[in-house]
């Protein structure tokens, strides 16, 4: 796979381009910590010895022990893989998050959604939170549990994850490209009752290491974990709505390599066949979609090798040719003009050959 950075999407194009590079999901959801709260860690040593050549009865030490406290750690991850395209106005648009108890004991967490994020953009109109409860991926209204923060807050066992759906409406009269963020945080009930705060932005938010005596699972203390560190708050994250009738994803790969000797070495004369996939998703249409791929000086376009969806495409383009797709020799650029592309259309597959000079 050879990725290209030479894409230009031009002309009246009111779309979001998201090149698919790497994984979509946040990798911060680390594995949970181990030993359960309330476990007693014990240790006893023993000694063998001899006096005047006679083995003596082995002796044990005193047994020392220490109790494992409950560590509160919770991680909230945005599952949306990027902004969720919305119209203006729009209704019932879902953002999905996962809340994971990364601590070492069972804990009740209050899940709070905040649409008034300081970063700017518009404020989504929160409609309803839901907790995944029927085991079927995705929100099924009526089957998954409608949730109000502070009422029946979920109890999560250690390592347990919970999918949370935030359903919002989108205001009218927004502009293409406007962003609206929703912040989701999960706050331990222990912190809410003991520190009297439910927001890291508030005074009195406990720093990691703060402990509450005797409240932990198994009788130990409760200790606030590093996911509450205000410099790196893993206990909250942000999902984003973006006003965009269509979202374009473009990926490029090299599908075959043929060297002058019939092999696959990259030497002068080797012909590489590239494939560019263009997918438009969303409810609307992408207007004036033009894909331009600038070939670097090391590559020579192979005449008449362009094809679109398996159909050969001539190299000329308007005004010389009949359409806007072809190869622009002066600009060393492959140009494919698809005009209006409706969201959900089949992926456009572009292939062409280039030789290494």
């Amino acid at each position: 796979m050879i990725a290209s950075k030479n894409f230009v999407l031009d002309r009246r194009l009111f779309v979001l381009v998201s090149l698919l590079v790497g994984g979509l999901f946040d990798a911060q959801a680390s594995h949970a910590l181990g030993t359960d709260a309330g476990v007693n860690i014990q240790n006893t040593a023993s000694v063998n010895f001899e006096i005047n050549g006679t083995a003596q009865t082995p002796v044990n030490s005193n047994t020392v022990q220490t109790l494992v406290d409950e560590l509160i750690d919770v991680v909230v991850v945005d599952n949306n893989g990027g902004p969720v395209a919305v119209s203006t106005p729009d209704t019932g648009i879902i953002l999905q998050f996962t809340v994971t108890n990364n601590g070492n004991g069972a804990e009740v967490f209050r899940v709070i959604a905040n649409p008034n994020v300081v970063e700017g953009g518009f404020d989504p109109l929160l409609d309803q939170l839901y907790l995944e409860s029927n085991g079927i991926p995705g929100l099924q209204i009526g089957a998954d549990t409608a949730y109000v923060s502070g009422t029946s807050d979920p109890l999560l066992a250690e390592d347990e994850s919970l999918v949370v759906y935030v359903v919002s409406n989108i205001p009218v009269s927004l502009s293409q490209g406007d962003n609206g963020d929703v912040e989701l945080r999960a706050v331990s009930e222990t912190i809410i009752t003991q520190a009297g705060v439910d927001n890291p932005d508030d005074a009195g938010w406990p720093t990691p290491g703060t402990s509450y005596a005797g409240l932990g699972n198994g009788g130990g203390d409760i200790v606030v974990g590093t996911s509450h560190d205000t410099s790196n708050l893993l206990m909250r994250t942000t999902g984003r709505y973006q006003v965009s009738d269509a979202v374009i994803n473009v990926t490029k790969s090299s599908i075959t390599v043929l060297d002058p000797f019939g092999g696959t070495t990259l030497v002068p004369g080797t012909v590489i066949t590239y494939q560019i996939d263009v997918a438009v998703t969303g409810t609307g249409s992408a207007d004036g979609v033009v894909i331009s791929d600038l070939l670097p000086a090391e590559l020579e376009y192979q005449l008449n090798s362009l094809s679109i969806n398996g159909v050969a495409e001539d190299d000329d383009f308007a005004p010389l040719g009949v359409d806007g797709s072809g190869y622009n020799t002066g600009a060393s650029t492959v140009v494919v003009d698809r005009g209006v592309v409706a969201g959900g259309s089949p992926t456009i597959v572009i292939t062409f050959d280039a030789a290494i000079r």
Binding site: G34, A45, S46, V47, N52, V59, T63, V64, L67, D69
Partner: protein
């Protein structure tokens, strides 16, 4: 219940023999805490380990003292300790002046690290420190009446 009964039995043996024991062991546990000093340097200190959280480093120190009236023979004092359940040994932390230190992965055979072999996904290899379940210190000198020394090791709570 079996486990608790056994612990009680061990305790009974301990109290019964302590009075006549020539050598007594005093086991202590501390938590190793890192902190930044006034010069901005990261330093370590020992604090009480009444309770712990996953990730904490603990240090066990076993002091051995000859409380009897006779000298304990040179080369005969052997102290054995188990890596506590839910913890893993931290490589290189076992200490004991005048001792030869060996380790075990089964609590029965003790050997030098390079000789401890385990099966990792079907392949035989040298055990990692995290796989140790026991430590043994063989103390070379004699121990005269009133003399004492100590051994120690560190673990991390999983």
């Amino acid at each position: 219940m079996t486990h608790i009964t056994l612990m009680l039995a061990l305790f009974a043996v301990l109290t019964a023999t302590a009075a006549q024991a020539q050598v007594r062991l005093d086991n202590t546990i501390k938590k190793v805490q890192t902190f930044v000093n006034e010069s901005g340097e990261v330093q370590r200190r020992m604090v009480d380990a009444d309770s712990v959280i996953p990730g904490d480093e603990l240090q066990y120190t076993v002091r051995f003292t000859n409380h009897g009236e006779q000298t304990v023979d040179a080369g005969t004092i052997v102290i054995t300790d188990a890596i506590p359940t839910h913890t893993e040994y931290l490589d290189g932390t076992a200490f004991g002046s005048g001792t030869q230190i060996s380790f075990s992965v089964d609590g029965e055979v003790f050997a030098a690290p390079a000789q401890l072999l385990v099966l990792n996904e079907g392949d035989e290899g040298i055990a990692s420190a995290q796989q140790y379940t026991g430590i043994r210190w063989a103390f070379s000198p004699m121990l005269a009446p009133g003399e004492s020394s100590y051994v120690s090791f560190n673990v991390r709570l999983k």
